[in-house]
Structure formats: structure tokens, C-alpha cells
Amino acid sequence: MANLSPFPTLDFLIPEVRRSLWRGGWLNGAAVIAVAVTLFIFGWGWQVSQLLGTGVESLGNRLEITAYVSSNLSATQVAALKEQLAALPGVADFTWIDRDRAWAELQADLGLKSEQSGLQLFDTNPLSDEVKIRAQSLEQVASLAHQIAQKEGIESVQYLERALAGLQSVQRVVRGVTLILVLLLSLTVVALVSAILRLIILVRQAEIEIMTLVGATQTWIYTPLFIQAASLGGGGGLLAWIVGWGSSQQLQQWLAQQTSFRAFASNASLEWSAGLGIFLIVVGVILGLVSTRLALQTTAPMPK
């Protein structure tokens, strides 16, 4: 039986890929740019979403739930309530402020002494015990507040529900828009690259027929195309990262020069990391490989 190497040799692959790229001509450039634009948008969408997410998360961590405790609880009931609150899932920490301390703090805040007339209208301390609870994550705040309100001995619960919901929805919108844009652009890229490869396959029909007849396997015949598409995708990913990195540098410099954004610029990092670059290149390569598979499914000749 004849010798047959399962995978193409470099002696074969390098000239074939070079030849195939040469045949693609300016269409290769179009493919690289299409991939780059898609991944550039994806990169910025990702960065903005991350930035917004970090902001929302840190703000959310600062959002406290304030619960007011009924004033007629016995010491035993207070102790039991403390235990129940501490045991709730999602509680990062909580501070119990008893009514006497709260009263003293209020007086101090107002700059009054108890014997002064302003507060003499209260015969007794009008405040109740108060609990300040911090959730472990932003998503847990609303449900935690609801659970706290259900506890016996809790009179009312307060937290910045609307602000929180607003911030979360902005984050969701940014993520959603980025995802939809990237999906649509990815489909465009796959369609474009596979169309280019289909053209190359059609141009190479005679060559493919000869390769088949002299005993080349499908792996030998089509590996150069996979490599070509992966190169175009990877190239597009690299270009997206370079442009993204450059633009982030420029933006950060500009923000630093703006008085109103100075604080923001010093805190927020817009820089495109090397990790993001590698990720974009990998996504580009995957887009290229998917395009090749699609092109082969619709073009590669099969015996009838």
C-alpha cells in the first residue's frame, strides 16, 4: 500500500498558503478589516461594560439596607433577631445601632443637648433600634431587603431601590447592545470570509481535482484554506487590539486633561490589556475557522 502522511508537510503548506493568500488579493484585506471592526467594537463594548460593572458593583457595595426594629422587643427577641439577620444568605456584614446610641448621635448631629428646648418636646427617646446591613453583591440587595422586611420585629426597611435598578439596567443595556452588535457583525464576518474562500475554492477547482486524483486526502487539500482563514481572522484580531489599545491611550490622555473627568480618569482603567489582545486574536481565528467550514460545506466537490 502506498505511503500516506496524515497531515500536510510544511514543504507543501507554506507555498500553498502563500499562493492562496496571493489569489485572495485585496479580498484578504477586506476580510481582515471586517474582523478587526467587529472585534474592535466587541473590545470597546467589553471595556465599557466592565468599567460600568465595576462602578455599579462598588456603588452597590456601598448601598446599605437600613432596617428599623420595633421598640417593644424584649432583649431575648432582639438577640434572636440579630442571629436571624446574621444568618441570612448574602449578608456581608451588619451593624446594630441601638436606639440610645442613635438618639445620642442625632443630638450630636443637630448640635443640641438634651436639656435644650428643641428636643424637650420628646419625653422619651422617639427612635427605635436600627440595623445597617451590607449585601455581598449588588444583585442580592433587593431580595435581601425583602427577606429582612419579613422578619418578625422589623418595622420598616429602606434602601435606594430605584437608583440601584437604574444602574443595573444601564449595565444590562450596554452588555445587550454589545452582544447583539457583535453577533450581527460576527455573522457578517463569517459570511464575508466564507464567500472569499468559496471564490478561492472555485478558482482552485482544477487544482483540487488534480490533487484528489493524484491521491491527496481532504485534509491535505483543505488545510491551507483553514490556515489562510485563521491567519485572516487572527490578523483582524491583532489589528483590532492595536487600534483599540491606541485609541484607549488617546482617550485616557484626553480625559486626564479635562478638569471634570480628572477624578474619573485617575480611577478608571480603559487600557486594552495583553490578555484582551490574545482573546481577540483567538476569537478572530475561531471566526476564520468557522467561515472555512461553512465555505467547504457549500462548495467542496463530493462524488455524486
Partner: protein
């Protein structure tokens, strides 16, 4: 020795290496009402030279394409080197195809490669080492008397020379069977005779050849077995 199994006779599995290629009750159609080949049975014996004749559209090319796995029969089986041909089995087909060479009427040379590169291509796609490729290409070009044109491009060659390059590409891997699909169809009578003489010489070196042609005059030049396709059915003609 009869090369053609009469139509309707059940095909027995072949044993030993005497039969190099075999069609057994093969029918092939292309959507029309009449099949292009109808229950064709055929055995090609090792070391023989066969002419396959028939008018244009009689099914000669279809028969060759079935033999090299470019087409799948609607009914019947095709065997090469004792193994059933299944075009869906990529790896097995590649192995079988490496044991045969194919040449065409339109030469099918790659215009952007030199003569030597065209011939080397057949070995390159099999992963043959570079040094071996060089040596084999030189030998093949010598056999077809084209060593001096190794660096020329196909466009600068005459039809006869292009066909000789095509033959060199087909034999460079040392095939056991050569399928020639109307190799003289685009050539003048004198060049056709030269190509036939070349294939005849290769046959004398041990190569099994199936040579399709619609030019009966060619078949009279050398004494070889003639198979004739007529309305999709195979007939065996006597030696000329």
C-alpha cells in the same frame, strides 16, 4: 483471455493480483431516462493495454470516473486492486488513487507552475521527501523526453508536450494502472500517434493502461484489446 464479463453474469469476487480493476453490474445515470452505463461488467487484467472506444457521450469518461472514484455507481460495485471503491472513504480512496495515474484530454496542468513543479505536485501532496521528489521528477521527465523543458511553463508548450507533462505527472508516483481519458482528443494525428507510442512503451515496462478514444484509427496502430461502449453497454471487439 476474455476481459469482459457478459452482461447479466453475477460477478465473482476476484482473488490474487491478476485483476487490477473491476466493474460489476454497474449502472450509472445522470437524471435522464436512459442510464449512461447500464449493468456494465468489466475486468482489467494486470499488465494489459485496453482501448475503450465509443462515440461521444457513450459513457467512456463516466466509466473512468467511476474507476477513480470521482463518481459513485447507482447500482453495482467497482473494485480497484481487489478493494471496493467507496468515494465517501477519503483516506482509503487516497490510498487507492496513489496506485494509479490519470491523464485527460485537456491536460489539466497548473498554469502558474513550471513543468517540473506540475510533475512534482503529484508527489508533494502525498508528503514525499524533497530529495526523492527531485529524483523522481527527473526520471519521469526523461521518460517523456522533456528534461530540457523542466523550468518552462505549460503555456509555452505545444499540445503534445503538455500531454507528455501530464503523462509524466501521472507516472511519477509509480502507478500500477494508468487511466487515459481521451488523451489524444486535442492533438493532431501525428502527435496523437506519438502519445500512443509513449503510452505503449510505458505499457511494455509493465504498466496497465486503459486508453479511451473515439478515434478508431488509433486502435489499429497497435494490437491491443478493444472494449467498445455502445448505448451504455459494453462490448468486446476482436483484436485489430
Amino acid at each position: 483471455m476474455t476481459a469482459v464479463t457478459p452482461v447479466g453474469t453475477p460477478c465473482e469476487p476476484t482473488s490474487g493480483g491478476a485483476i487490477i480493476a473491476e466493474l460489476c453490474q454497474v449502472t450509472k445515470s445522470f437524471g435522464g431516462s436512459l442510464p449512461c452505463l447500464h449493468r456494465v461488467s468489466l475486468q482489467l487484467r494486470r499488465g494489459e493495454f485496453y482501448f475503450l472506444t465509443g462515440a461521444s457521450g457513450s459513457g467512456k469518461s463516466t466509466l473512468l470516473k467511476l474507476l477513480c472514484g470521482q463518481l459513485q455507481p447507482d447500482q453495482g460495485t467497482v473494485r480497484l486492486f481487489g478493494e471496493e471503491v467507496n468515494p465517501q472513504q477519503d483516506w482509503r480512496m487516497a490510498q487507492l488513487r496513489q496506485r494509479m495515474g490519470v491523464i485527460f484530454q485537456d491536460f489539466k496542468l497548473l498554469g502558474d507552475r513550471s513543468v517540473a513543479e506540475n510533475v512534482a505536485f503529484a508527489l508533494l501532496v502525498r508528503g514525499t521527501p524533497k530529495a526523492e521528489i527531485q529524483q523522481r521528477v527527473q526520471t519521469a521527465l526523461k521518460l517523456v523526453s522533456l528534461s530540457h523543458k523542466a523550468s518552462a511553463y505549460p503555456q509555452s508548450l505545444s499540445g503534445g508536450e503538455q500531454q507528455r507533462v501530464s503523462i509524466a505527472r501521472a507516472i511519477v508516483g509509480g502507478p500500477e494502472l494508468l487511466l487515459a481519458d481521451e488523451p489524444t482528443g486535442n492533438l493532431d494525428p501525428q502527435t496523437s500517434q506519438q502519445i500512443l507510442a509513449l503510452l505503449h512503451r510505458l505499457h511494455q515496462r509493465g504498466l496497465t493502461v486503459l486508453f479511451t478514444t473515439h478515434d478508431l484509427a488509433l486502435t489499429r496502430l497497435v494490437s491491443h484489446r478493444i472494449l467498445h461502449l455502445h448505448h451504455g453497454k459494453l462490448e468486446s471487439l476482436p483484436y485489430p
